[in-house]
């Protein structure tokens, strides 16, 4: 019988991506919660290069990097497609997933947790990046079309984590006025039953983020 394990962290969007991928395919797995301040020997054995979560271990063989893992899940198991079948559409999906990880997430996260000029610069970068995503979603229900796909799963930070963080830190970046399409997508995404079951509890995330604020220097 196939043995599937996920080494993750409950609050991490990258970790949740992997769980979403497995649940989409109906794959049963064992979840192992990692303490990121005290990483287990097993995690370091399975991901010696980056020493990070998430790691998927399938029949004893580890795979790291959430987008690489999602492509693996799509290829290893039958079930709903995570990536489209057409090569050009696949290239587009990979492009946008990469764009989210490289151009959206870093400045969005930085905009939340920095101050002054650094924050302004990050906000500008994030705004520009989100504009492109806004145009791309363009009235579709999901980036994947009628059903969620790779890009929707990759955009989980944008759909769920970011709006929560934004509110706590008092940032107004992804407003409905500026990003009507993206805001509508986020609503559909977070309310579709499949995704809803697979998100970390709102109140627990709020607690963590408030803790980060309190730990910051008084100049914030």
């Amino acid at each position: 019988m196939a043995e599937v394990k996920v080494f993750g962290a409950w609050g991490s969007p990258f970790s949740k991506r992997v769980e979403m991928g497995l649940k989409l395919k109906g794959v049963e797995y064992e979840y192992i919660e990692e303490d990121l301040k005290n990483k287990s020997t097993l995690l370091l054995k399975y991901n010696p290069v980056h020493k990070k979560i998430p790691v998927l271990v399938h029949n004893g063989k580890p795979i790291s990097e959430s987008l690489v893992i999602l492509e693996y899940i799509d290829e290893a198991w039958e079930g709903p497609n995570i990536l489209p079948k057409d090569p050009y559409e696949r290239a587009k999906a990979r492009f946008w997933a990469k764009f989210i990880d490289e151009k959206c997430v870093p400045p969005m996260w930085k905009a939340c947790w920095s101050i002054g000029e650094e924050r302004e610069k990050a906000k500008e970068e994030a705004s520009e990046a989100l504009k492109f995503l806004e145009n791309e979603i363009n009235g579709q229900k999901f980036f994947g079309g009628d059903t969620i796909g790779l890009v929707d799963i990759a955009a989980n930070f944008i759909g769920y984590w970011f709006p929560i963080t934004e509110e706590i830190v008092g940032l107004e970046l992804m407003t409905q006025d500026k990003y009507p399409n993206l805001s509508k997508w986020a609503y559909e995404y977070c309310n579709c039953s499949f995704v809803k079951e697979n998100l970390p509890p709102n109140d627990k995330l709020v607690e963590i983020f408030k803790g980060i604020i309190q730990a910051q220097p008084a100049s914030n």
């Binding site: 990097e65 492509e71 290239a91």
Partner: protein
């Protein structure tokens, strides 16, 4: 219907070289269009409005951007001489290492010629560490792909023609730290698709001199 394949590229780009190698490996006929990166053409900006970068592959009018994404596209459209393995786990490993090369080799390499002093030293150490990890991954295999040149080999080999520039500006020898990797690179250079796609190392060095002047890096 005859395929129309256009590649927007720049001679010195390692990322462009990846695509050239992939197209050559598949025997795909295409039109190469050298781009002036200091004065980007309208067509490039139309085909890659988001990043405004090369390489861009345009297949029957449809643009694909980002070198590794282009290579995977090429592998899926032209099924002869596969670049990625067929087994899903091997494919995942290949993608992992290609991603590693993008994150660790490319960034450190650039900082070697772009930075000075402590920052350059740190870049050199990171660069060598990344290559040593890759060398360990290669092990005793002739290629990262096993017996055959494959995706990871293609992702890494273009950086080899930049080594001379890195080594000269950084004052170090890659061969000293990663002899087996250099052997691998020399083995790859014997492959026709590679030898005709890589830029000349001396020309790369001269190009970096121009870049350093342009950015005011001494």
């Amino acid at each position: 219907m005859l395929d129309e394949v256009i590649l927007l590229d720049a001679y010195f780009s390692m990322f462009g070289m990846r695509v050239r190698i992939a197209l050559a490996e598949k025997g795909v006929e295409y039109e190469y269009r050298e781009q002036n990166l200091l004065n980007k053409g309208q067509y490039l900006l139309e085909m890659n409005p988001i990043h405004k970068k090369i390489p861009v592959l345009i297949h029957n009018g449809k643009p694909i951007c980002e070198s590794l994404i282009i290579v995977e596209y090429i592998d899926e459209v032209w099924k002869n001489n596969p670049l990625l393995p067929s087994d899903p786990y091997q494919r995942a490993q290949a993608r992992f290492w290609a991603d590693f090369i993008d994150k660790k080799v490319n960034d450190a390499g650039k900082r070697i010629w772009y930075m000075k002093g402590e920052q350059q030293q740190a870049a050199k150490e990171e660069f060598i560490e990344a290559l040593q990890l890759l060398e360990t991954e290669l092990g005793d295999k002739p290629y990262f792909g096993g017996d055959k040149f494959g995706f990871v080999d293609l992702a890494l080999i273009p950086f080899y023609c930049w080594f001379h520039a890195y080594e000269t500006f950084g004052n170090f020898s890659t061969e000293e730290h990663c002899p087996k990797l250099i052997e691998w690179a020399e083995r790859c250079e014997k492959i026709e698709s590679v030898s005709k796609s890589l830029a000349c190392p001396i020309k790369v060095y001269e190009f970096v001199l121009i870049l350093k002047k342009k950015y005011g890096v001494k």
